[in-house]
């Protein structure tokens, strides 16, 4: 089995490309998507606002290629990246530890990777090897977060957006904001707006109960999705992050619903992929619309501040990736050790039988001989397999050598 990564992210493809791939993460499509993956091997789909990636564990490179053709059909070849084995593992660790994020250090991405992994597990699309890789990547991500300050000076995408909103609407105390969606990003935005002292905070969500729950946390007011346009006239900041496949806020509706509103500016932030606010809404003079790619510039500035922490994190990652190589080798090593033990035990058994026949030993003598041979075999195996359990180049060389030796032996037998 080989580990592959196929995907697009904020660096290779802009949001208009990424939103074309969002269909894969839809509830209705998941069954089809994962049954296709199961027919090839196993795989985890990571679909966030910044990336759409498939982590695959498939027997042949051809299977990965078929997955690429199936899931990225209309995407230009140059926008898609492909990685294999350690390179792909390294990428996964970088993603999980937020080193590959648009806003380096953001804590949300680890949760998103975990959710993607659990979803794949629900569909039984994670084999033990893929499972091990993901578990280890979670551990590395956690270690990076605890041993560096990468997340401490972190400013989330939501708070970057809210800070930008301040540059447009000014003081929040006499303003009204509407947060559409009740997911992780929306919750962060709502909390940030609340702590910044927004005058009135509205929460709208497709599932009204979730809107009520979030409104309770942030001391806001829940709203039905159908009521958005009725309230838009009074809203100064709109933050949208939902999984809707079509725009929730359109230019025509906004013009219609603004009515008697003064010419005060309105800030609209849409970090959904696909976008939930119509792109041409920014053509209206006093409406400022930003999507996830637009916030990239601000995110880059924050990144400069955390440069030394990023370097520390990179060191930890490299160090752990070396060990990771050993860990991914573990199942192979275990299987080999089992083979060696069986093989030597068999040899010892055969020799025992031969000696017993030649010397005409009775049952007690035969038992003593068997015990001795077994002990000898065990000692021999233990002394040799010790090398396989260590880290480093010797272990890799020993693994190759023993694999060749015992596969040869088994072929001959």
């Amino acid at each position: 089995m080989s580990f592959f990564l196929i995907g697009v992210n904020h660096e290779t493809a802009d949001v208009s490309v990424r939103e074309k791939l969002a269909w894969m993460d839809q509830e209705t499509e998941q069954k089809k998507v994962f049954s296709f993956i199961q027919s090839k091997g196993s795989g985890v789909l990571l679909s966030t606002c910044n990336r759409v990636e498939w982590y695959l564990n498939v027997p042949h490179p051809q299977d990965a290629l078929e997955c690429k053709r199936h899931f990225f059909p209309d995407i230009h070849e140059t926008l898609i990246y492909e990685k294999q084995d350690m390179e792909a593992i390294s990428h996964l660790c970088r993603v999980a530890s937020s080193l590959d994020s648009q806003v380096v250090g953001e804590p949300q991405v680890l949760g998103q990777v975990k959710r993607a992994y659990h979803k794949a597990k629900q569909f039984e699309a994670v084999d033990p090897e893929l499972d091990l890789i993901f578990q280890k990547s979670f551990l590395i991500a956690k270690k990076i977060r605890t041993e560096t300050k990468i997340g401490q000076s972190f400013v989330s995408m939501s708070s970057v957006a809210i800070d930008l909103a301040k540059k447009v609407v000014g003081h929040f105390s006499d303003k009204e904001a509407l947060v559409i969606g009740a997911g992780e990003m929306s919750t962060l935005a709502a909390k940030k707006l609340s702590t910044e002292g927004i005058g009135r905070l509205w929460i709208a969500n497709r599932t009204y109960d979730q809107a009520v729950a979030l409104a309770k946390i942030v001391d806001g007011y829940p709203m039905l999705m159908e009521q958005i346009y009725d309230h838009l006239e009074d809203i100064d900041i709109v933050f949208v992050c939902t999984g809707a496949q079509k725009p929730l806020i359109t230019k025509d509706h906004v013009i219609e619903s603004l009515g008697t509103r003064s010419k005060k500016p309105i800030m609209m932030i849409d970090i959904s992929v696909p976008r939930n606010i119509e792109k041409n809404l920014g053509e209206i003079e006093n409406i400022y619309v930003y999507d996830v790619d637009d916030l990239k510039g601000i995110a880059l500035e924050n990144e400069q501040l955390r440069k030394s922490e990023i370097e520390k994190a990179e060191k930890i990652l490299i160090d752990h990736l070396d060990r990771f190589e050993d860990v991914t080798r573990q199942p192979q090593t275990n299987a080999l050790i089992k083979n060696i033990k069986l093989h030597v035990e068999e040899l010892a058994q055969m020799e025992c039988e031969k000696i017993s026949k030649k010397l005409h030993l009775d049952q007690d003598q035969e038992k003593i001989l068997q015990r001795g041979m077994s002990s000898l075999a065990k000692k021999w195996v233990d002394s040799h397999i010790q090398m396989l359990k260590t880290d480093g180049i010797e272990a890799t060389q020993a693994l190759h050598l023993f694999s060749q030796m015992f596969s040869k032996d088994s072929d001959e037998s």
Binding site: L164, K166, K167, V168, V169, G170, H171, S262, K263, K264, P265, G282, E285, N286, Y288, Y290, D294, G297, I298, E301
Partner: protein, 138 residues
């Protein structure tokens, strides 16, 4: 009435209206940067709303001082030239500028003239003020 007060008020009004104009210009620039997503330039600037608000506040203050200065100027001119003061082009220009600014203030209050539209009108008013000021010096 002392002519020095008239001159002092004139200078103060010019300063206030220049500041108002600066905030309006800042608004137009900020708006352009925000629309074209050039965020690095706006990091240290006040918000759009603040720029707009201060442009309006300074305009009102500047107008009040300018009006006072113009009224004092009319009073002095009346003393100096008796009946013919209203024929003086300097006074006529100052009165026109005051009226022009009053129209902006009413438009802002009544028709909610904000943002780039307000900035443009402010620029026109300021041009008129500068012409008056330069003419009065000459």
């Amino acid at each position: 009435m002392n002519i020095n007060i008239h001159i002092l008020l004139n200078i103060i009004s010019l300063m206030l209206l220049t500041l108002s104009m600066s905030f309006s210009t800042l608004y137009v620039l900020q708006q352009r940067w925000l629309k074209t997503k050039q965020f690095t330039l706006i990091q240290r600037l006040p918000s759009l709303e603040t720029s707009d608000l201060w442009a309006a506040r300074l305009l009102v203050c500047g107008w009040i001082v300018l009006l006072s200065s113009t009224l004092i100027g009319i009073y002095i001119a009346h003393d100096m030239w008796d009946q013919s003061w209203h024929k003086n082009p300097k006074i006529l220009m100052a009165m026109t500028t005051c009226f022009w600014y009053l129209v902006f203030i009413i438009m802002r209050a009544k028709f909610d003239y904000r943002g780039s539209k307000f900035s443009l009108i402010n620029l026109l008013g300021y041009t008129s003020l500068l012409i008056t000021f330069v003419y009065s010096i000459l």
